[in-house]
């Protein structure tokens, strides 16, 4: 009974935390655009929070520089369970154009278990929302814990524009 209540509360108010791990800011701007009234993520209860202690979903942008990796890990450790990670953009997913450089870890999944990858450079706001909603589905089905150990993550790929605008 209480489990169900907690699950319902989580699903109706997934608060997200945005973390820039050395990205070029394009992804961050798209996340900020995604929380504007035009896209209205409040209808899902999504809010951007300033503290990892209040967040359920960690949205990570950027290829994770070596300097930032331990900080990112610490922020992830500070989040209460159950927690979910969305790797945003080409850089967050694979390292992108920064792959092979001496100063990057090449993707969020080298540092954290990732639940959803959102491709794009940068992804459109609706794709970001798609990623977070996919994570909501994991909360609902309850296999978040299993998935959150990096097994079988969700991949959000770019749809043709007609499909998005239709």
């Amino acid at each position: 009974m209480f489990e169900n209540l907690a699950k319902w509360a989580r699903k109706k108010s997934p608060w997200i935390l945005l973390f820039n791990s050395g990205s070029c800011n394009a992804c961050d701007i798209e996340v900020i655009a995604a929380v504007t009234p035009r896209f209205d993520v409040e209808r899902f209860g999504i809010q951007v929070k300033g503290s990892p202690r209040h967040a359920d979903v960690l949205v990570v942008t950027g290829p994770v520089t070596r300097q930032q990796a331990s900080r990112l890990r610490r922020i992830y450790d500070q989040m209460p369970d159950p927690k979910y990670v969305v790797a945003m953009g080409s850089c967050g997913s694979t390292g992108g154009v920064f792959k092979g450089l001496y100063n990057v870890m090449e993707g969020v999944d080298k540092v954290l278990p990732v639940d959803a990858y959102v491709a794009g450079c940068p992804p459109r706001p609706d794709e970001i929302i798609d990623g977070v909603i996919a994570v909501l589905g994991m909360i609902e089905s309850g296999d978040g814990r299993k998935r959150a150990r990096g097994k079988d993550p969700i991949r959000i790929e770019r749809k043709p524009l007609e499909e998005v605008t239709a």
Partner: protein, 166 residues
Amino acid sequence: MTDENPMLAAVKKDLGAKAVDVTAPRLKRIIIATTPDAYRDVIKYLQDKMDCYHLSVLQGVDNRTTFEVVYHFWSDRNGMFTVKVALPHDKPAIGTITDIVPAAILYEREVHDLFGIEFPGHPDMRRLLLNDEWPKDEHPLRKDWKMDEKKFYGGVKSSTGGEKVA
């Protein structure tokens, strides 16, 4: 063409033996090659006589057999002056110019980080660009540098030995 450039002739005449080679690809663009013994005099000459109060950038160059430190000075009146100093490859070191050009303080730290060129006399030779855990004697912009897979370069120590965190 070179003889038509009055500035080139003046620089050649004033520097004399202090400059190994003076060239001018075009008007108001003078390139002076000099030695580690004479570079301070050349820079002082540029500051005093050629109105070069602005250090545009200070670079390191790895030519495989030698290192080169390249100072770019800008003057509103006289244009761009480049001072090139060649250094031996095994123990590259050149005295700091921060006492006569304070703007060089960050550039020298950067070149020290990435090329391993020493600047004796620098007041604050802390690490500037590389991350905190980066090994001491590794300089990623050197041509013969290669990442050693067994070494730890910073970031997160993975229990799976560089594999994805699962």
